[in-house]
């Protein structure tokens, strides 16, 4: 199922960038969970285009309409479906490109996969717009988890080599996480944020784009959630994270740096803390051992490539005629997808955690 993720909960994202609507159908959400629509809108607003010049000027209201599974302010337990109408399409911008493979995009691979029948307008089903229903689903999951004290936070860890301060993998609190959500440009060190914004704007001026890294943390996940081998927290999170367009890498805890450490450095020693809980002194394991939560914060980093849509001329092919061509991509594009990808990563992690929390006794 190309657009469906199925485990204890499942959801399918559907729709095309320039079709009537996009949306999501989630099954197996627990019944009786209060869902605050205002908070959902706030979550989704974080994915909306920014006014600071770092993203596209396309302005979709992206108001989700819930059509099923929600009654009297609570989930019913039956499929929860939300629609988001497409309202601000400039198909003309795209249609003239439709036989040229935009470098870094899925135009060519998608045309092969769907034998030429997919909707090419605005990337169709491959569009970044499909992360809006992902965010809806993640926002629902987040509300359910937050009632159990679990908070998932994200910030821009790096844009084009400019690094933000990292999350403290031991002490990051719920309050730290909430504070980040209200920032227009979600970084921990605002000075670094300004440098990043300047860098993104410069790329835009140069008709170019930049990539970056999103760091994510989940706090208060109880120890013992997940499973070994193929149904662990890393597997579930990875399966979903690689569903976000432009993701090229994922690491947990010390990640690739762990490969450069000695065992005596990388092992996180356990101890019983003052509250009588088993904890670790360091958190290079990123809160997951053997696919199962250790009770320490879960940490991960996601690498995003630079936006492939750039207005500079690029060499490419007309894949219908099989001949070489040059392309210059017009239309409105984010010079950097990372600011808008922040809530998408958060959504994916919330969904994966909710999925595993359903097995938790007395959830």
């Amino acid at each position: 199922m190309s657009s469906t993720w199925s485990n204890k909960i499942s959801f399918s994202v559907f729709g095309e960038s320039h079709g009537p609507a996009i949306g999501v159908c989630m099954d197996n959400v627990p019944p009786g969970e209060s869902i605050d629509l205002e908070k959902i809108m706030q979550f989704m607003a974080r994915r909306a285009p920014k006014k600071d010049g770092t993203t596209t000027a396309r302005s979709e209201a992206d108001m989700p309409q819930i059509v099923s599974g929600y009654f009297n302010g609570k989930t019913t337990g039956t499929p929860l479906t939300a629609l988001i109408k497409n309202t601000d399409q400039h198909s003309g911008d795209y249609l003239k490109l439709s036989k040229l493979a935009r470098p870094g995009h899925a135009d060519y691979t998608g045309a092969l996969r769907y034998r030429g029948f997919s909707d090419p307008r605005g990337g169709g089903h491959f569009s970044g717009r499909l992360t809006a229903p992902l965010c809806f689903a993640g926002a629902v999951a987040a509300q359910i988890l937050e009632k159990r004290g679990i908070y998932v936070g994200t910030h821009i860890a790096e844009i084009h080599k400019i690094k933000d301060d990292p999350f403290d993998p031991i002490k990051t609190s719920r309050e730290d996480i909430i504070a980040l959500r209200s920032r227009e440009f979600p970084v921990i060190n605002e000075k670094k944020g300004k440098l990043m914004i300047a860098d993104i704007k410069k790329a835009k001026e140069c008709q170019d784009s930049v990539g970056g890294i999103v760091e994510c943390i989940a706090v208060n996940v109880p120890a013992g959630i997940g499973s070994p081998i193929f149904d662990g927290l890393e597997n579930s999170i990875a399966h979903l994270i690689f569903g976000i367009p432009a993701v090229k890498g994922l690491e947990f805890g010390a990640g690739f740096n762990a490969a450069r450490m000695l065992g005596s450095e990388n092992n996180d020693e356990f101890y019983v803390n003052d509250q009588g809980h088993v904890v670790t002194r360091t958190n290079f394991h990123g809160g997951i051992l053997g696919g199962i939560s250790s009770g320490m914060p879960i940490t991960l980093r996601v690498a995003f490539k630079p936006t492939p849509s750039i207005s500079r001329p690029q060499e490419t092919v007309d894949y219908s005629a099989m001949k070489n061509e040059t392309i210059a991509i017009k239309g409105r594009h984010d010079p950097c997808v990372v600011p808008r990808a922040v809530p998408c990563v958060e959504a994916a992690v919330n969904i994966a955690l909710l999925n595993h929390m359903l097995d938790y006794p007395n959830f």
Copy 2:
């Protein structure tokens, strides 16, 4: 399902390190595929302990016995099951540790997850031994793919900061891949390999361990395989790769480095080559766009943490008594899991590719 991966093909790995046997049950393997058992043994031998001092001295013959789904040298199409008997267990080495959480291991998280009922001997179901059935399944998948010209190769890209030369992401050939398989220590640059071996031995002498990175390439995968969003090649590969113990990171193509590039650098321009095929001049996308193969080699890198079992004393907890303790892990352990992880990565990628190839017209 903790130990089951299910898609167009499925397989479950089962068994405990010190139980009667481990094994694998694969369903939906196509019928009529010739399987050469000698080649399976060669694949699995690459996962066996090395004689060069870089791995554990435990020597399991690890002879898989096929008990179903195989008739007259060919797959039948019904479930293919293989067993590997456990023969060389020294349970005594482990049993005395059984209530101390080995740092970096899943003892504590596994005890919570399975409420104390999992088999603790030798890591039980969490043992690295469970990668032997993964290799069996991968070896079967590899033989099916190789008949269609698809070859998956792996080498040790890095051990504790010592780097091998990378795969050429454009020109790596089937022959390059086959050559690596016969190397006792699979690196491209043998000088670097010697440095790595020396480093691993040094770690062992210091009662310590080291981590590293495995690089993998798949050549001749036809363009158009995979799907967008949640059923793409990256999702499937990631889901399986994070099933290998000690993996902490995964990147495709330029991976985390893509996050540091400009769009104009990272975009791989298309052109029609002399054979009339659409190809790219560079391969930062790692052969996958929108979850779908582009026809270029698929490249990925997997980060492994240092072996958590080290014989140095470490602080930890007795999680049954909830008190602080010190542990020094005896028994035979790999000072570095990376050399033996090489075929495991190859297995996971072969399985994921076979899975998606089943959708290929005229497969």
Copy 3:
């Protein structure tokens, strides 16, 4: 997943009887299939209330709106989603009943399952209205199959002991099937049909209801489709058929009568016919052997209980107060669900067959 069926294709039906809309999201439909919306409407119209007095007077237009997965008159291969707005709700009729368990309905069991949070209006997600999206999905599947020559037909085989003539399990043709579809009351023997209609009307007058049996046949299914054990045609069809409300039984071929036959009577002898095809002289096996199609027509019968909503007073409980009560169900109800269930059975069988046909070489 309560409302999702997932195999090679998947679909989720969503919505509540009195919510804004009901609908369906199908994944993995092959790309490039022409879908004629007019024909879909015709299929769905067969499920609409009849004007002959045998069904409810509720008249929903039930116009499905496709919101994704359909472009230029063809499927795109990405999720196909359709919405059907709810327009003719008389919630008042139902709300006063909401704490009384209607006998034969899922009010009480659903309240327990969803801990009181499901939408009770009009049966909510348990409503027979949810068969409208099933019919949409089935109508899509039917069009794809019919292009390959496969036709699925249904008729009312029995209403309250009045029996129609059965399908000829050997000779039923595509034309026979098509002819049935245009009948307002789909029976083979119209005299029997008139008796059935009279019986249904009489039940209605008596404030009672009747049940019946739907017979289904699928012709031109190629031999070799399906699988043994748990992924056979019977398993898939059964899994879906029991998703239609009021179904209490299902039999294939000779069904329960096979249990009363001798092996020498029930075995269908094979022979090679004039066209050189392997066929059977009789068709007690219903076109399926070992879960796999034999090339003979696939035949099945589905038993429906009488509509549980009757306006006669019945004893029941108020399950919130746990006390005994009497209920008389007002509102508009079908005195017999069978006439409207005919296309639902056809839809389920079409979906199951399409699912297995995706494995057919050169599909």
Copy 4:
């Protein structure tokens, strides 16, 4: 997945009738459940050939060996795998038939499905022997359920028109169920049992075979288990029951008779009983409403066709040469599969119920 059933728990049955072994791999069984191997053997012994002449003379010991997922007498929560060696094969009996399609068997359809590569000896993977691992899995599920008070019982309801007394759908007790298990020929009315035995023996003498019906009841299933539409108790049970060879029909509660009743007859009125529980006065609904348990006994009936293997000459085809032939099936065959099918039905229902019970609060 042809031989895998996957839901909250999953299991794959594997093996061929004349291969080295058959077996089962179950995933997601809860940890810490005591499993009494002696009781498993008793369950499986009920599927063994009978000594009363009603079944085949083939005598497999069918001793399952557990190779994983079981430690210190309890389930570990990791995959539970059991092997049953094949020891009493007379392949010679079958091999000479291998290109003739036995009427009523899957030889022809299986050869098409697996393109001639399946193991034909003794029916291969299509053999009734594959119900032995089903019974193992069911016996495990039964032990887990019985600790929660849930008992599943079965009897032979009908053989070739000779009917046993039915289960009382209201009052059948755990003791009634246990008593049936120790009967060599499990019927309620032993006089009818004798008639059935005589009828089976007569069929055998006539080189013929007979079919029959198995009735099943599950008591003490709490109300509220299951889900509407596609994940209900009927869907799960049906999906598994049609995995048993020779099943042609399935009905719940009043089943096909419900189709002949009036709503006022078929509706089961609710009342609050002396213990303060909501119950029904009659049980035509078979303990399931809207896919969810009502708390009343769950009742179902399964129709089995006569054994297709009969030694009388039958017309058939040589499907390799596509010519007409005559076949007389030698070898040892059950003149009636029903007596040995009794625990298979019980196994399937236990597995389906355990699956849904995993969702029950405080399971």
